[in-house]
Amino acid sequence: MGSSAKKKKEKKKDFQKPKLKVGKAKPKAANSTDTSFKAKSIALKQQSLSTNAPTVEAQCAHHLALLSHKSETQRRESLAYLTTAISTNPPGLPLPQPSSVIIPTVQRLILDGSNGVRQQLLKLFQSLPKADIPSHTDQLLLHTRAGMTHLATDIRIFALDVLEWLLEAAGDDVVSCAGGWVKTLKCFLSLLGWQNDATSKWSAVKSAGKAGGDSKLQVKQMNTLAAFLKVGLIPSQVVVPVEAGTTFPLWHTEQHMLSKRSNPYAHLNLFGPPRDEESEMYEDREDRQRVFHDRAEAAIVAGLEQALKGGGELGRAAAQLRRVVKEGMADYHGEDLEELSTQ
């Protein structure tokens, strides 16, 4: 090997010393890398050189930007900062950043992989003023539903937490926003494994354990579903006292006033894509009852029976849920009977 003159010469070539000459540029090394580059423009981010500390607003904006940081600790810290900033905000003053900025940025963290981040997120949600929630319900609900169907069990549980908070904060909006009623119901049904299709085969065993994860999760799901149905089906107890005397010449002033809700004409769907039955808005209780009766009631009743047989904590939750369903649908059946009797 390597005996021929040619090979020797080749080998030698590698170790030859480059000749340096006076007045000539130094020859480049064989391994030198060209680091020059061309650019149409070079933008330098401005450095803030102010001596005074950044305002809370600026810091909040900064932390909002950090929410998409790849480190989960950083995300959690930023959320924590925002939470404290909101909760320490003196009442009466506006928030350091408006809710309409905060909510759209933080809502995708519902699906975040880290448990700590999610728990912190819930704290942040709870610290937000309740009046700001209704206008963002549909977006939040979308994320919540995505979380409820998520593969990871703890994200699913967390999404239920969020839904509970949401029901508490803006219950009416949750059940009446576009797609909020039917889609969420469907979501619950598929989570609990209560499908109302007639085609289900007898051999397909309803694997209660697998479909809902462990029973603890299922209990939580049922509780949340009960809360959801309660908001949607049972009329709120607060009845506006009609004071006939004070507003004597005016009747039904409420109807003629400007609505206090945000986006009061959303049900007209002026600018969105056409809606189907699932994504329709169901603002009336009667509507919701009808849809519930058509689509979900049979499945829920059947599922409840099975759960009741199971007993234990699961049975208790099921009983509670059944009570809610009965209460919510009591007058609906009555209507149905009335219709039947009139016919």
Binding site: H143, A146, L151, K183
Partner: protein, 743 residues
Amino acid sequence: MKRKVGALEKVDADLTNLQYKARRDPPSYEEDFRRQYSQYEALRDLLLTNPSSSADTGVVRFTELVDFIAHLAESYPNITAKFPDDLIHILSYHAELESDLRDKIVSALVLLRNNHVIDSSTLLNTLIPILVVTPSKSLRALLFQKIVSDLRSANSKATQHRLNRTIQTVLFNLLTSDRETTKGLWSVKITREMWKRQIWTDAKAVDIMKEACLSDNEKVITGGVRFFLGGDREREEAADESSDEEGVDLNKLRHQAGINKKGKKERELKRAAATVKRKERKKNAPHPLNFSALHLLHDPQGFAETLFSRHVQNSKSKLSLNAKLAILNLVSRLVGLHKLTVMSLYSYLLKYLTPRQASVTSFLAILAQATHDLVPPDVLEPLIQKIANEFVSEASASEVAAAGLNAIREICSRQPLAMNDVLLQDLVQYRKSKDKGVQMAARGLLSLYREVGAELLKKRDRGKDATISLRAGEMKERRYGEAAIGQIEGIDLLEKWKEEERRKKREAAGLPPDAAIDEEEHAADDWKNWEVGSDDDSDSSGGWIDVEQDGDDINISDSEDGKEPPPKKAKLSSETPGPTDDAEKENKEAEAKKISKLLTSTILTPADLKQLKALQESSAIRSQMPSSKRAALLAARHTDDAITAETIEAAGLLSKKTSKEEKIAMAKADRDDKHQSTTAKRKEKKMSEGKSTTNKEKARKKNFLMTLGKAKGKNKRSLVDVRKSLRGHVERQKKGGRRGNRG
């Protein structure tokens, strides 16, 4: 954002695993699939609120879900009924979507189509509009590839006429709806690809291209024109390539499978066997009849006229010279091929015929191409005159003169009447030129006119053949518009052969050889061997050889019966090298009678035609003569073949002096740059594969200095020592090495 997942949960989160399981047993995993589907729906709603957002939140990415559902949509048709529409809807936001997701959706749609969830026309009607409008280059490439491959796979088993028609209509409408922009280029591209792959071979595809040629955008126009000029050649090349590839040597494979490890080899073998079988079947299948695009064109006259008036003559059209040349080329091809009449073309070309014009040889080629024998000679005469004046003179450069002469020859070979005697005699003088290119070009013109119009030449230029045939009155100038009488070459040979056969059969049966011919019997015989089988083939050719051997016999019998001897060409050729005109003239009338008789009384069977072909090939008299060789060459040049600028320039190249380097390069062109012996190549291959060398090789390569000591010792030894060592060596050999291999 990866998070740790527990073992049980991992099984759930593993979409690939779930997909695998669900594919094998859909009903059991319906619940799981439903859950994934609802997850997909939630994420889809999220995405639709803001399509530009990145959809990969959390553990599972939207793209993965789409992929998962697309793979299983076949198994759960009820759940996924709306899935394809969803994807199409999402894809309508293609401009804002993340490129990753966008590509995934496209491939998911293709997957759905391959699984027959959606049909081809839905897929193509989704993809084509996006292909046209999207600003993303990568998406365009992807879509184009998917569209073409889908059309191919749809047409792979049988031609899908309805699908093809709808897509062709879509492409056609794309062209007609927007004439100004480059959108139409996509229909050109798709159609060209389909044409190349022989999937679309009908007139509708040609119609699309015709529409493209008549569009207003330069790119689209050139795309269409290029298709007509080169699409068919491209198709032929593609067909050749595909037939060359995938040559599977089954024996070799079988051998390899025997040697190497077992396992999936068997499957491979089976696949290879299937390929071989398919190829065999393809080989036996009749060759598909493919007409060239120029022949499938509907109304070529109108097309040529519109092309010419809209793009070339129109002073408002702002096409570049190259584009105009391509269009002119197409127009002239059409004129030459279909013998169209576009009079304004010739007067248009007149002003471009000067040596200073850019790419003038292309113009000359176009003019030659646009000439055919139905062009009035008086239209062409000024053009030829101008070429002669501008190009062919002693003062002009030799290449220019050669090109001019060559162009004149090309024009005159198509319409000889366009030349007058004064000009021709003048041009022919250039054969005395010192320059070789000019010389050859002038000689070409001379030899052309010796064949087609010898009267125009001076007497001393006519040559022997032409003079003889002129005197005999055989050669007549063909008048304008006169067409040659059609006849089948070699039909006389066939008739003679038939007679021979019949005679032999009668002799074998013991009948008088020249009794009245029993027509019916004869006819019955013919119909019996209608088809030519493969074994029939050798028989018939053998039969022909018999004819030659029995040649004398025939003559004798003929003379006995007092008939005139039939012209036996094969015999003549063996006796006299040249044709004897007198003898031929004698036989002429009789021959003509015979031909008409054979052609009018019988129908030629395929067997007859085959025989005819064999007879033609073997009657080798005429093909010996140089003039007929040239004629054959001319005939071989198909009318479909184009004349290019290179044809015109060819003569000029002769006069160009090549430098030494060029000559060397030319001589070396067809050789490998580095010569290596087979052994050396093998050795190099071995080295590159990292294999070891033999001991012999090592010994040979050993450093010379290292061997010196041993060699020195060897020299000094006494004879006895040498003998001892040699003997020792022999013994060691017997024993099998130093250690020995026994015990």
